[in-house]
């Protein structure tokens, strides 16, 4: 028995069986479901961004209130209780990281949030620095400059080390402020030039500068 495989050039009439309406309806239905998925996804992202903004505003208020307290108690600068804001800052960082993962590191909304967050961090840092100087507190202040463009892996590794130490020593002992060196923000640029940041990652622990990646033990030695 032979096998015949003649290509059929004249398309048989009986084969014409497609139903345009069915395809149109399917595409229409699929489009609705698809848009619903996109809409829900975007809605949740926007919700998260608003939540971050709200949290940032509330932290900003707390920082301002601490600044005012500082000024009010000029004569007794170390007697007023400190409002622990590190937990909130930590929460904002985690939310920004997940939004960054969702929307991308170059997303305008993400960059705007990060700028505002950097300002809050600087504000908090200055307050903590002035307290440390005046009250002789024994916590270490760490400024961490990283980049999402160059030496990303080294920056990430340094970030893990600092996160780990933050967890180990708690905020009474170490306060870490992270800055994206490439952020288009004047104050960051000023800090970069002030501390002469030429390499990423750069970690400044109580004014002592560490360039490049430094392991846990090296960083730990510099913590007060």
């Amino acid at each position: 028995m032979k096998t015949l495989k003649k290509p059929v050039k004249d398309f048989p009439k009986s084969g014409e069986n497609y139903d345009f309406n069915k395809y149109a309806a399917a595409v229409g239905f699929a489009t609705i479901i698809f848009l619903l998925g996109i809409f829900l996804g975007n809605y949740f992202v926007q919700e998260k961004i608003s939540a971050i903004n709200e949290m940032q505003d509330s932290v900003r208020l707390e920082v301002m209130s601490m600044e005012l307290q500082n000024q009010l108690f000029q004569e007794r600068p170390c007697s007023d209780p400190m409002i622990p804001l590190e937990g909130k800052l930590e929460e904002i960082t985690s939310k920004i990281t997940s939004t960054e993962n969702r929307l991308g590191k170059d997303n305008t909304q993400v960059l705007e949030i990060k700028k505002y967050y950097s300002l809050i961090e600087i504000n908090h840092y200055l307050l903590m620095k002035s307290r440390k100087d005046k009250c002789n507190s024994d916590y270490s202040l760490v400024l961490f400059f990283y980049s999402n463009k160059n030496n990303v892996l080294e920056s990430e590794k340094q970030g893990y080390v600092l996160d780990n130490l933050k967890g180990k020593y708690t905020s009474d002992k170490i306060k870490v402020y992270s800055f994206d060196r490439d952020l288009d923000l004047d104050i960051i640029k000023t800090m970069v030039s002030f501390y002469n940041i030429t390499d990423v990652p750069t970690t400044i622990i109580d004014e002592k500068k560490l360039e490049g990646f430094h392991d846990k033990e090296e960083v730990e030695e510099l913590i007060a």
Binding site: T3, F11, K22, A26, I33, K95, S98, Y160, K168
Partner: protein, 425 residues
């Protein structure tokens, strides 16, 4: 990032379109899923190609002898394809006015089928594998379709007999899902595979257009495409259940799939006219292009999935590398809020919405298939394995098959072994 999102969205959209077509076809024909009643009982020749099946051939013949069909209206032709064991002798023991046993030199399944067809007297040819168990009445459910002169073949609902074991369970859901999908394809006149365990053909087609392609590794797909290319119809009976034995080891399963999938690529090249949109058929406009596109998109979607997850794992390993592994750290860093946040983050991602949509669609189809096929066995574990392991297996086997296809590596089938209803090289 944008490119990755685009890929995920295109894949998701395409997946939703496919689901929509399936469900719309179902709703348009849901009252029409039963089989047409046969007005007459044409003479049927069962052709059973066998190779080294001495242990099961007797049981196979007996199961066919028990089917509900007038005894004077069918014959069984067992074609021994040069077995080296006692298959021929075992089959001979059951020879009767209904059962005929013939033998030939080993030449593969297609050649054995063709040899049997030459000796067949029937108006219809029922092709069955040597280790397929038939239910009592698949034939009566299938032959009604032949009232339509344009119908050249009817396929059955293929289920798994040996469902116990991980590898078998991995395939079982796919088979169950396949039963319903085959009906959906039928309702769109777009069947392009006629599986071996039980299919009935009009002999007239073989007389006019030739028998099974003996040079082809997937003679069942080739035959289906040939029937389609001539403008004829292939139907499916959702109620005609047959139970087949599936591969029980990963290596035999992978070999089987590589054979099927490379065969599909080759058949698609041979019958590229079926992809011509000017044919204006569901097959050419949607089902065949969708089959190819879904393979391509599943590669991409898998790559994206792997990229995200592997990146996460690599980062975690790097983290452990610089911070050291400490149980104390893990406990300290564990915060319920963070955990909740992460969970919420996952759930609210549009990717997860689409993933859940896909899983739900497949689950609904499996349940519908279970309902319509009358499957009584529990499907919980097979579904679990299907959703977790099957995507990896699917992409892996299609990827290997694609490499085989584009590099032109010849599969060394040698003298094909007819093992438990599937061919193993």
């Amino acid at each position: 990032m944008q490119l990755l999102s685009l890929i995920v969205y295109v894949t998701a959209y395409f997946g939703i379109v496919i689901s929509s077509i399936i469900f719309m076809t179902y709703f348009a024909h849901r009252k029409n899923l039963s089989d047409p009643i046969a007005k007459r009982f044409p003479f049927i020749s069962f052709v059973i190609p066998v190779y080294n099946e001495e242990k099961v051939i007797g049981e196979t013949i007996k199961s066919i002898l028990e089917v509900n069909y007038p005894k004077n209206k069918y014959e069984i032709i067992v074609v021994d394809d040069g077995s080296t064991d006692n298959t021929y002798q075992e089959a001979k023991k059951l020879e009767s006015s209904i059962v005929r046993v013939i033998r030939k030199e080993n030449g593969g399944c297609a050649s054995a089928l063709n040899y049997g067809i030459i000796h067949a007297r029937g108006e219809l040819i029922a092709r069955s594998d040597s280790d397929t168990l038939l239910s009592k009445d698949p034939l009566t459910k299938m032959i009604g379709y032949f009232e339509d002169k344009n119908v050249m073949a009817v396929t059955s609902s293929m289920n798994v007999k040996n469902h116990k074991g991980f590898v078998q369970k991995l395939q079982w859901s796919e088979y169950v899902l396949g039963m319903f999908l085959r009906k959906i394809f039928d309702l769109n006149n777009s069947l392009y595979v006629i599986p071996g365990p039980l299919s009935v053909f009009r002999k007239k087609f073989f007389d006019k257009y030739g028998g099974f392609d003996e040079s082809c590794v997937t003679e069942d797909t080739e035959m289906a495409m040939r029937i389609q290319s001539h403008g004829y119809t292939i139907k499916n009976s959702l109620n005609a259940s047959v139970y087949t034995i599936v591969p029980e080891t990963f290596s035999s399963l992978i070999k089987q799939r590589i054979r099927w999938y490379t065969g599909f690529f080759h058949n698609s090249c041979d019958y590229k006219q079926l992809y011509d949109v000017r044919r204006k058929t569901n097959l050419s406009l949607f089902f065949l292009p969708a089959a190819l596109l879904s393979i391509f998109l599943s590669f991409i979607a898998f790559a994206v999935f792997a990229y995200y997850n592997i990146r996460g794992i690599v980062k975690y390993i790097i983290k452990l590398g610089v911070t050291g592994i400490s149980f104390e750290d893990m406990v300290r860093n564990f915060s319920f809020n963070r955990f909740l946040d992460l969970g919420l983050d996952y759930i609210t991602s549009p990717y997860v919405f689409f993933l859940v949509f896909g899983i739900l669609s497949a689950l609904i189809l499996i349940l519908m298939s279970k309902y319509y096929s009358g499957e009584k066995r529990g499907l919980f574990f097979t579904c679990l394995i299907f959703f977790i392991v099957y995507p990896f297996f699917h992409v892996f086997t299609w990827a290997i098959s694609f490499i085989y296809f584009i590099t032109g590596i010849k599969q060394k089938w040698g003298s094909r072994e007819y093992k438990r209803g599937v061919f193993i090289s």
